[in-house]
């Protein structure tokens, strides 16, 4: 087992190296740079200005180790060897310096920007994943145990519908019904305008025992309630979408288990049906679900691009869209590499968990 983990870790790091290279290369060979907008909006800016700005950001240097022949003021300088932008960037990333934003918040370190968004995404995704599991697992179990009952058909229909409805449609529909027509929830954002703070700041106030956001003292609970009202609609939309997959997985996993010989053995021992289903059936049916949970972990941090966009939720998903639209490649690189890192690690985690909870699985 230890050997397996070590080997997989090494493989994962090699994989990540190539992923980061691919991401860096894709972002750097596509046309368009951070100063495109500047050039089109201001006719007095000439190509030599742009060249100088590019040199400031190292954008004139080669991608990979090679000759670098700078031009200063139109004059050719002697060529010298350059380690290349990719390796320079990678070296900094390993040391914890993820670069600075070009256009969104010029000069702000990428990590600071990501940290400021992370809480919102974890809140939204955590809440919706938790609710989805809480609702879907019992439905899936019931639907498998009572296969071909009316409830089973209802659950299957719910799963089919949920999988076929894109979140950008359910989101807009939910907004037009529950926010516009009924007025139960706000249409988007994290807080009422004029509120002293938002739910993440309030939570941070609580967990730091009042050291952060002192302006929220005494107003914590109204702020949290206001935040919950704002997160409700996007969370419900994502819950419904995630539920569909969870119901299907739980149902098929449980159906698989119900067919096993040990279930018949348990029944023939004279155990009550409840014990057979929950102790012998459910515990085995949960094994593949643990793996599935591990595989959904990256999305907890990467966020939901479409839902966050519709509800103007300031999470990581929105940030990706904004960064891409603004050609803010340092931010995009940071987000992509972190996402890839999480995917690779959660795959590894899924494999390990699988072996831990199921003694029949052995890696050599």
């Amino acid at each position: 087992m230890t050997n397996f983990v070590i080997r997989r870790l090494i493989q994962s790091f090699i994989l990540l190296f190539f992923i980061s290279m691919l991401i860096y290369v894709i972002l750097n060979i596509v046309p368009g740079g951070p100063f495109d907008l500047l050039k089109t909006s201001n006719p007095r800016i000439t190509q030599s200005h742009i060249d100088r700005l590019n040199a400031l950001l190292d954008l004139d240097k080669p991608l990979f180790p090679g000759q670098y022949c700078p031009k200063v003021g139109g004059e050719q300088q002697p060529c010298r060897f350059d380690q290349g932008r990719y390796f320079r960037w990678l070296g900094k990333v390993i040391r914890g310096d993820w670069g600075r934003s070009w256009t969104m918040q010029t000069g702000t370190p990428v990590m600071t920007m990501i940290w400021s968004r992370l809480g919102y995404t974890v809140l939204l995704m955590g809440l919706s994943t938790f609710l989805a599991i809480l609702l879907a697992v019992p439905i899936g179990i019931y639907s498998a145990v009572k296969q071909y009952s009316i409830m089973d058909y209802l659950a299957t229909a719910l799963a089919f519908f949920g999988q076929s409805m894109p979140t950008f449609w359910t989101g807009l529909m939910a907004m037009s019904i529950f926010a516009v027509a009924l007025g139960w929830f706000p249409t988007g954002g994290v807080r009422e305008s004029g509120a002293p703070g938002d739910i993440i700041e309030a939570l941070s106030h609580i967990f730091s025992f009042g050291r952060t956001h002192p302006e929220l003292a005494g107003k914590v609970w109204p702020t949290i309630l206001d935040g919950l009202r704002h997160v409700a609609l996007p969370a419900l939309v994502l819950t419904y979408f995630n539920m569909a997959a969870w119901v299907r997985y739980t149902r098929s996993s449980m159906l698989e288990v119900l067919r096993q010989d040990y279930m018949r053995t348990a029944r023939s021992k004279g155990l009550r049906e409840r014990v057979v289903i929950f102790k012998h059936g459910l515990r085995n049916a949960l094994i593949p679900l643990i793996t599935y949970l591990a595989l959904t972990l990256p999305s907890l941090f990467a966020g939901a691009i479409l839902t966050e966009t519709i509800f103007s939720w300031p999470g990581m998903g929105r940030m990706q869209i904004d960064a891409i639209s603004n050609v803010d490649w340092p931010v995009v690189q940071g987000l992509f590499v972190i996402t890839a890192l999480l995917v690779v690690l959660s795959n590894l985690l899924a494999d390990i968990l699988y072996a831990v909870v199921d003694p029949r699985i052995q890696y050599s």
Partner: protein, 320 residues
């Protein structure tokens, strides 16, 4: 003596099998026909495809006809005198929503069909080569597949489709179809991995079987073995994956168009119609959102029904 008078006809042998034999595909079709949801899905899909294909004939308005005096008309509102009713209302520019939906369906279905076919081709070739040759080639191809699977797909699609549009040469070459071609290209680029793994897996499991050895003993070359024996025998899971993938492509295309990175107006798709709806004043949000989203929903639902039935029909072991 009368017992011996037998006619020639009576001497004819009774045929043993009354029907012509049904092969693997005939059996699968039989199983599929008994699958209620799959047949509903298939019927819906055929209807949707036929309606979209005949958009010119049945659409009451041309999709780009603008009528600024009738923007955001309600459902079932009458058109100008002498013109047909706006069955599903109009959008911001007063364009007839029902007509746009028909044309949009054609684009969405065509994009999804093209992407699915290309995805299968690319995936099958990579998977078959990888599985059949093995060795370092297999290693390299499969590690590359892993790598592609780890990349964040939707954001990279956004980056590529927004950047590729800026290539001036492409723009000159393809004109207004540019955004459609780009979206097909990026969706195929990020879509072949699952099919490749599937084909490789089934090629690996088939490779050791006797009929392959027999074929090789008869002098069949490597490419003949791959494309005449290995690929046809792994068709069933590919068909299932392709069907379910088709629905996925429709959703991806609409998502990209919805975010403004996919098919660009004036070419209508269900996704960019939803993007327009998002910009509508809130009181019109419901009517503007309802119909394009419903089209995506019903198409994908029909495909999922069909795909589920195909999975049961083609490979009962895969049943979920």
């Amino acid at each position: 003596m009368s017992a011996t008078t037998t006619t020639v006809e009576a001497l004819k042998l009774e045929p043993i099998a009354t029907e012509k034999p049904i092969g693997q595909w005939g059996l699968a079709w039989r199983r599929l026909r008994r699958h209620g949801l799959a047949m509903i899905g298939l019927t819906l899909l055929i209807v949707i495809a036929l309606i979209s294909l005949s958009a010119e004939l049945i659409a009451p308005y041309p999709f780009e006809e603008i009528d600024l005096t009738h923007s955001y008309a309600a459902l079932f509102s009458p058109g100008n005198p002498g013109r047909p009713m706006h069955l599903l209302g109009t959008d911001k520019l007063g364009r007839d929503v029902a007509s746009r939906l028909l044309y949009a369906g054609r684009i969405s279905l065509a994009v999804a069909l093209t992407v699915t076919i290309l995805t299968i081709l690319v995936g099958t070739v990579i998977g078959a080569v990888s599985g059949a040759f093995g060795g370092w080639l297999d290693m390299v191809l499969m590690r590359f597949t892993d790598l592609m699977l780890t990349l964040p797909t939707l954001p990279l699609l956004l980056v590529l489709s927004s950047s590729l549009r800026q290539f001036a040469q492409l723009q000159r070459l393809l004109g207004s179809n540019l955004s459609v071609i780009i979206i097909i290209f990026v969706l195929v680029l990020f879509g072949w991995m699952y099919e490749a793994r599937l084909v490789r897996g089934s090629v690996l499991s088939l490779r050791g079987q006797d009929f392959i050895a027999a074929s090789r003993a008869l002098g069949a070359g490597e490419s003949r073995i791959i494309f005449q024996h290995l690929v046809p025998n792994s068709l069933a899971p590919i068909i299932v994956a392709a069907t379910l993938g088709f629905g996925g492509v429709i959703i991806s295309e609409s998502a990209l168009s919805f975010l403004g990175f996919g098919v660009m107006p004036p070419v209508p798709t269900w996704g960019n119609m939803l993007n327009d709806a998002r910009g509508a004043p809130l009181e019109y949000l419901f009517t503007q959102t309802l119909s394009p989203g419903f089209c995506i929903f019903i198409t994908v639902l029909a495909i999922n029904f069909l795909g589920d039935g195909l999975r049961d029909a083609l490979d009962p072991r895969l049943k979920m």
